[in-house]
């Protein structure tokens, strides 16, 4: 198949590849640098837009005359804030595909308890470092936000003082996250489930997690068990 006067195709390819190797590596490095820059740009925009969404909801809540509307906007803002808390930490660590659950829980608890203004609730943290896939960050943040919000709101009404313990521990192939309070107990029986309970139920199914809310006498203990498939 070799045409006289021409190099065979394989040799031609070899020469071309040797010549092109240096240039090819340069192209690859440039492409990688561009891709990294683009990723940072997108990350930057996501964070700034989350800030904008969060501030807009706060602004709108300030302007709502009806206390029920204001409360609803505040609840929506708290949920956006949960997503914002995880996003603030994403891309700040070494591995963009994992996030540190212990560090996230520390931020989350400080923000939610601090933001509630409830200095009469003592908090104890017992957190084992575990990295989860980044894809689970937002749903887990929303789930924890609901459970923590419930503990404060229903556990300690009317300025009742008390304590909340947040635990994260690896148990075999599961991560156990527990939020325990010594408040007034479970008010869950009866009436139709609120949006909070619906969110908890659906997020658990999305995360393939199990969530049990039980009477801890005194108080309530919410336990989430999350599968750790091959997570180290």
């Amino acid at each position: 198949m070799t045409t006289p006067g021409f190099l065979p195709p394989l040799t031609r390819r070899r020469v071309a590849s040797r010549e092109g190797e240096a240039a090819g590596r340069g192209d690859l490095e440039r492409a990688l640098a561009e891709k990294t820059a683009l990723l940072h740009e997108v990350d930057h925009r996501v964070k700034n837009n989350l800030q904008l969404v969060s501030s807009l909801l706060l602004l709108q809540a300030r302007h709502a005359a009806d206390p029920v509307v204001r409360q609803a906007l505040r609840a929506a803002q708290a949920r956006i804030n949960a997503v914002a808390i995880v996003h603030r930490r994403l891309f700040q660590g070494e591995d963009p595909e994992r996030f540190d659950v212990a560090a996230f829980l520390r931020d989350m608890v400080e923000d939610v308890i601090g933001g509630s203004g409830r200095t009469d609730i003592r908090v104890t943290l017992d957190l084992e470092r575990t990295d989860l896939p980044t894809a689970q960050a937002a749903p887990l943040a929303l789930l924890i936000s609901e459970l923590l919000g419930n503990a404060i709101l229903h556990g300690f009404p009317d300025g009742r003082e008390g304590a909340i313990t947040v635990t994260a521990a690896r148990e075999g192939d599961q991560l156990r996250i527990e939020i325990a309070d010594n408040g007034v107990g479970v008010p869950t029986t009866g009436s139709t489930p609120g949006i909070g309970q619906t969110i908890v139920k659906h997020l658990c199914s999305q995360l393939r997690a199990d969530c049990q809310v039980a009477d801890a006498g005194p108080g309530v203990r919410a336990t989430v068990r999350l599968p750790l498939d091959g997570v180290h």
């Binding site: 940072h40 990350d43 964070k47 800030q51 501030s55 804030n81 603030r88 933001g115």
Partner: protein, 149 residues
């Protein structure tokens, strides 16, 4: 504490203004470009300038922080989504609040810095949302405080 807002996203600036007033500080003005910010810092001499890194005239917030510190003696606090891109010396700014910040995170940072700037000494470790510049942490004696988990 008198606070100048330097932020090109006007709705963020509006909401920030409420947060500043709610912690008992005074919002003295709002600039969207580095030129306006420099003029306002020289004119109003705020105790603190909240500075976004990206302004109307580009990524000029870092140079702005240096200028307002050296020219007017105004302390900057960065607000940015890209904390890792800040220079190691924080361009003379006292620290950074990462975006997206929360209502509580920003308020806690403002309350803390109000005390630091007034007393020249930190009342404790910085709150979670605030990362102090090494030089200011040293000046306010934060390194001498016991570490808590």
């Amino acid at each position: 504490m008198n606070v100048l807002i330097v932020e090109d996203e006007i709705l963020l600036a509006m909401e920030l203004s409420f947060l500043i007033e709610e912690v008992g500080c005074v919002d003295v003005g709002h600039a969207m470009s580095s030129a306006d910010a420099l003029a306002m810092a020289a004119d109003l001499r705020p105790d603190l300038a909240l500075v976004d890194v990206h302004l109307q005239d580009g990524p000029t917030g870092i140079d702005l922080a240096r200028h307002i510190a050296s020219d007017c003696g105004v302390v900057a606090l960065f607000m940015t989504a890209n904390v890792k891109r800040l220079p190691a010396d924080f361009a003379g700014a006292c620290g950074v609040v990462g975006k997206p910040y929360s209502e509580h995170g920003m308020k806690a940072a403002l309350r803390y810095l109000d005390i630091c700037l007034r007393d020249g000494r930190a009342p404790g470790l910085a709150p979670a949302g605030l990362q102090l510049a090494p030089a200011w942490a040293e000046r306010w004696g934060v390194g001498d405080l016991p570490r808590i988990a």
